[in-house]
Amino acid sequence: MKLWKILLTAVLGVAFAANVAAQQTTLRIFTGGQQRPDVMRKIADEYQKRNPNVKVEVEVGGATSDSQQQYLSTVLSSKDSVLDLVLIDVIRPAQWAAQGWAEPLDSYLGADKAKILPTYLKAYAEANTVDGKLMALPYFADAQFLYYRKDLLEKYKRPVPKTWDDMIETARIIMDGEKAPQLQGFSTAGAPIEGTVCTYLVPLWGAGSDITKDGKLNINTPEARQPFQLYGRMKQAGVLPKNVAEIPTDRIRVDFQAGNVVFAQSWGYFWNRAENDADSKVKGKVGVAVLPHDKGGKSATCIGGWQVAVSAYSKNKQEAVKFARYLSSPEVSKMQAIMASHLPVFPQVYKDPEVIKANPWFAEALPVVETAKSRPVSAQYPQVSDAIRSNMNAYLAGIKTTDTALNDMKSRLTPLYR
């Protein structure tokens, strides 16, 4: 009799547990180490509180956009269903659409698609739409800015530079005045990494040109030479770090925080770290501005930021899309802005008083982000990127001239734009 009771309880218990398990969905989201997984965890906790049937696991991997994509290429090429959602770089949607890795969201959103798309910053609505299909939802925005040492500019009574030549001159004056051998005038990404693509593109766009024109390769122009010539002038003036060809993105911040950089070209995360990090020597001295341009040109900047894609191999697509919509909501945009100084993807969030209080420079950031440009959109973006970055890197290292770098770039890009 007793045994019978125990058995019955056990059977009922198992049945009950199975029932709960059937209702409980586990979503696994992949994020890179640089995209503040701690903040993602807090957002996921909030989502779990509101949706007790969902459990979110945050998988963290890869310190750079490249290494994350290498891992994801392996997982997704083998059609592994382990990931439900993935944070992808703004440069990736075209490739993800072509490879069939991201689930198009149109059918899940239905009529909502037309309603929500116009609420985003235009560049992000466009970046995530490939051939009319919505491949991912924007998570946070990013762009490159000019960071500068307010204290040094004041000390030498120099205005924030508008043109590259102004900047070189100011950097030179400050370097000569400070006489600190460690001091670099201007630092930007120069190592053979993704960020170096922007190092080439920003001055190219500033000159009013682009890599492609009407879908055709467009680097037989005098403008395509201008970025090389600009960095050549900087090298001659001695304002670039001597080892600029070895500098990856985060090294710029480390040098700047140590007080060794006057001007830096970097992404949105920079300000928060330089102002708040315990070891920062430049707290309260960090200025942010629009990147300079050539005389007669217009300022341009590289768009960055991260998108939430739903894996085509996920087994919980409905729930995944729901979570993706939460991650891409004004509410989460605001949470990220306050917790991580991630730039919002909705224009109105930039004006939110709490956001402004945490990031006073966001009000000026909005016009910059609104005019930021996309790197070449291509299903074969990794090859495009490699052609640009390795030649920009070789030029900065001094092993290629403008002509050889541009010719080599052309010969690698030509087969990709037939």
């Binding site: 090429s77 053979p192 291509s378 074969q380 030649n391 092993i399």
Partner: protein, 304 residues
């Protein structure tokens, strides 16, 4: 039953048992060697248009191989790989031999030397690359610090193709010589002491002992170490990947790095497989060469 029947059935069952015992190893070899290499070669005869990958794989015959012959980047990475082999294999052998001789000295406390031998070997390649990248760093690196202290200008080690190659070679030799030393140390310890005692009685100098006893007796160990080192040198990836990422430009890129980039970054599996097949052929040729040479020299020393 007669005895004859019993012994045949015993033979049969022993043969069966033998086959049975061989099966796991054979299956494992099929699974991890034969299957991947066949797949690799098969993939190398196909191509995917990554502008439109959903069109699927197309049979292209040997087109990927012809493409490699026209590809400057392939030739450069091959040259760079061969350069690492030519410099680091003898380099590691010399340093390793020195270390092994040192470790073989009758120290009363042997563990510090042996620990020193084991540590570089136990360190993962990527860590090693990252550590040496910091050593050769322009502003904060210890190498430039030493250069400045002795009155030289600091060098941009990782921004110049020549200096970066030198820095990478130094790192590889540092890392690889401890493995060499371990292999050679095992060889050294198998040389009977009596040979040296006899040589001493005959009045041979230390150098003569080294040339006439140590080197010939060490020959098999040296060859095994050389084969292992050459194969790993052909596959050089981690250290340059961590130190320069192939830069400046593609100057320090090895064949293995180019294959990694082609497959994992560019998703060009067909071409990447063709390059990998070529690398496999390269190791095969070099290893066969070594084996032929050792076999010939072994039979020659047998004739003596």
């Amino acid at each position: 039953m007669t005895d004859a029947v019993i012994s045949t059935s015993k033979d049969m069952s022993e043969r069966k048992l033998g086959t049975l015992l061989l099966l796991p190893a054979a299956a494992l070899l099929l699974l991890v060697v034969v299957y991947p290499i066949t797949t690799l070669f098969f993939t190398s005869l196909h191509a995917v248009d990554n502008a439109n990958p959903r069109a699927g794989e197309q049979w292209v015959g040997l087109a990927n191989y012809f493409r490699a012959f026209d590809d400057d980047r392939f030739w450069h990475s091959l040259f760079q790989t061969v350069l690492y082999v030519v410099v680091t294999v003898p380099g590691a052998l010399l340093v390793g031999l020195g270390l092994a001789l040192l470790a073989n000295k009758p120290f009363t406390v042997k563990w510090p030397v042996r620990l020193g031998l084991l540590l570089p070997w136990a360190l993962p390649l990527v860590f090693c690359g990252l550590i040496f990248r910091w050593f050769f760093e322009y502003e904060t690196g210890i190498v430039n610090d030493v250069l400045v202290r002795v009155g030289f200008e600091p060098l941009q080690w990782l921004s110049s193709p020549t200096l970066a190659t030198i820095a990478i070679c130094i790192t590889i030799i540092w890392k690889a010589s401890s493995f060499m030393a371990l292999m050679l140390l095992a060889g050294l310890q198998s040389i009977p002491k009596s040979l040296y005692e006899a040589a001493e009685v005959d009045g041979a100098s230390k150098w003569q002992q080294f040339v006439e006893i140590t080197l010939p007796m060490l020959r098999p160990a040296i060859f095994v170490a050389l084969i292992f080192r050459t194969i790993t040198a052909i596959q050089t990836f981690d250290i340059p990947y961590a130190m320069t990422g192939g830069g400046p430009g593609d100057a320090t890129e090895t064949l293995a790095m180019y294959i990694h980039k082609t497959t994992l970054d560019f998703l060009d599996f067909g071409y990447g497989s063709a390059l990998a097949t070529l690398m496999f052929v390269l190791s095969l040729v070099l290893t066969t060469g070594y084996l032929k040479y050792t076999r010939r020299s072994a039979s020659r020393s047998g004739e003596d």
